[in-house]
């Protein structure tokens, strides 16, 4: 296996992007990544695109070719592949690109993610997202996607004494970080009271516990470490990239409040990088709902089970704390274009490691990403360092 570096990153503005289309969102992110790497599109050998549901959101499949075409990459007929694992599609694209470069199969590979979620109405979006869980035996019973995470929250609060206010503090912290992220959907601070007063979606989760519906795209460029300095003075090394699976249905899990796929992917990543959670300077975790951030912090090993609410309340997950979590604003404040999120997380860690995260900079040399599909049926973890 060759050592692999990230040499370019590109992000679009996240939000309700009525002004632009699915394909142009990705073209914008890809072009920014190429510009960041000082590279020509002709140098790209292969492309992987994470996309959850072009078929539901914009009635478009065959995403790989569509994106390659409109990015001007069909001129060289490069292989272009769409990968899908619900909200972990972006993470999957990164891991596929990493494996392709590490194995020596290709030299320069783009990993991207894109989702255009606002071209359909809210009810259609809810229904499409329910496809991330088991449609026949969860969805048909009437369980929405927020409803499944709400059942995790009910179980967790009952067992570990987490308070409703501690849950709200996750959103408050992520919004405080998002204020400083220029691409974030909601650059606005909120209070615990705002969360507690927001509409109930699925008890105990309220609207401000939930990540929003977002349009956006993200892209990163990977190449062998030995080539990286041709493109950038600040290459970021991929220290580990891991993936794990679990039962598609929440009801089949050993423990509803522990994502065993997070535990497995986390352990694999730490093993590959020969590191422990203590070595990680900051982490982007998959906070699709507030409860998900708390489970992730624990399941990755940053604290013991049941302690993440207290850790958050004590400010240890804020910038300046012992383990800053979601400096980008997370899915909650930055936005969650489902297929793009896993790549956006990598972009944030790269910005941090290069010292470019203005207003939210953490002084660290190693960062981690954690991207979840469904309620934990797929998890991708990456560790990056300089």
């Amino acid at each position: 296996m060759r050592e692999v570096a990230v040499v370019g990153v590109g992000l679009t503005q996240f939000g309700e992007r009525w002004d632009t289309s699915f394909r142009n969102l990705f073209v914008e992110a890809g072009a920014k990544a190429l510009e960041d790497a000082g590279m020509s599109g002709d140098q790209i050998d292969e492309m992987f695109i994470g996309n959850m549901s072009g078929g539901r959101f914009v009635l478009q499949e065959h995403i790989g070719a569509l994106i390659a075409d409109h990015a001007g990459l069909t001129k060289n007929h490069i292989p272009a592949t769409r990968v899908e694992a619900a909200c972990a599609s972006g993470g999957l694209a990164f891991r596929q690109a990493y494996a392709t470069v590490a194995s020596g199969m290709q030299d320069i590979v783009i990993a991207g993610g894109v989702e255009k979620m606002t071209d359909v109405g809210g009810s259609e979006t809810t229904d499409a997202l329910a496809g991330a869980a088991d449609r026949e035996w969860e969805g048909l019973a009437g369980a929405t996607f927020p409803g499944l995470y709400a059942m995790i929250a009910t179980d967790y609060m009952n067992r570990y004494g987490l308070t409703r206010e501690q849950l709200a503090m996750v959103s408050v912290k992520n919004h405080r970080n998002g204020v400083h992220n220029p691409i974030a959907q909601y650059r606005k601070e909120i209070t615990v009271e705002d969360v507690m007063r927001s509409t109930l979606v699925a008890d105990p989760l309220r609207l401000l516990d939930c990540s929003p519906v977002t349009d956006g795209a993200a892209a990163v460029i990977l190449c062998p470490m030995e080539m990286a300095r041709e493109f950038t003075d600040t290459p970021v090394k991929v220290l580990a990239s891991s993936q794990a699976s679990d039962t598609i249905s929440l009801h089949d899990r050993r423990d509803f409040s522990t994502l065993d796929a997070t535990v497995a992917a986390g352990r694999r990543a730490f093993k590959q990088a020969s590191l422990t959670p203590k070595d990680i300077g900051m982490v982007e975790v998959h906070d699709c709902f507030t409860i998900a951030e708390l489970c992730a912090i624990e399941d990755l090993g940053f604290c013991v089970k049941g302690e993440a609410g207290k850790l958050t309340e004590d400010g240890q997950t804020a910038i300046g704390g012992s383990i800053p979590v979601n400096t980008s604003g997370g899915l909650k404040s930055c936005g969650h274009p489902v297929g793009a999120t896993g790549i956006k997380q990598v972009c944030e860690i790269v910005s941090q490691l290069r010292g470019e995260a203005v207003g939210r900079q953490v002084d660290a040399e190693i960062g981690m990403t954690h991207n979840v599909g469904g309620t934990g049926a797929t998890v991708v973890c990456n560790i990056l360092g300089v």
Binding site: L140, T154, D155, D203, F256
Partner: protein, 129 residues
């Protein structure tokens, strides 16, 4: 969803017909074609669940997709059946009556109607026992 997709699971949905593995003794609902523990060494046989169970965790759905919107707010739970397997289902009761550990039993109910002239889907829900 298409009519055949509802139809082929009718017996499972109406009567809680699942299956079990005779090799390791595990029960499955929803039914599985292969035992995840024993895989090809497993022997899968049909089994009808008693329908008695306990609420392990729950929520009240306030915002749903179009087909379910008319029913909001409604309670959803993960129910541990007395045979030891868990399933997701609606519980028909006042949402604030729900609690973890609540005993429930199965009932046959309408699940959704697809618009004014579409398919009416029936299945299993639960009520307090």
């Amino acid at each position: 969803m298409s009519v055949p997709r509802y139809w082929r699971k009718q017996q499972n949905r109406y009567n809680l017909k699942g299956n079990r593995c005779e090799t390791c003794g595990r029960y499955f609902f929803p039914p599985r074609a292969i035992c995840p523990e024993c895989r090809r060494e497993g022997k899968i046989v049909d089994y009808e669940f008693s329908g008695n169970g306990t609420v392990r965790t729950f929520t009240v759905i306030r915002t749903a997709s179009d087909d379910y919107d008319i029913q909001t707010p409604y309670a959803i739970a993960i129910i541990e059946l007395e045979e030891g397997t868990c399933m997701t289902a609606q519980v028909i009761c006042e949402p604030d009556e729900m609690y973890i550990g609540m005993p429930v039993k199965r009932v046959f109910r309408k699940v959704i109607s697809e618009g004014d002239s579409g398919v009416i889907v029936y299945g299993t829900k639960f009520v307090p026992a």
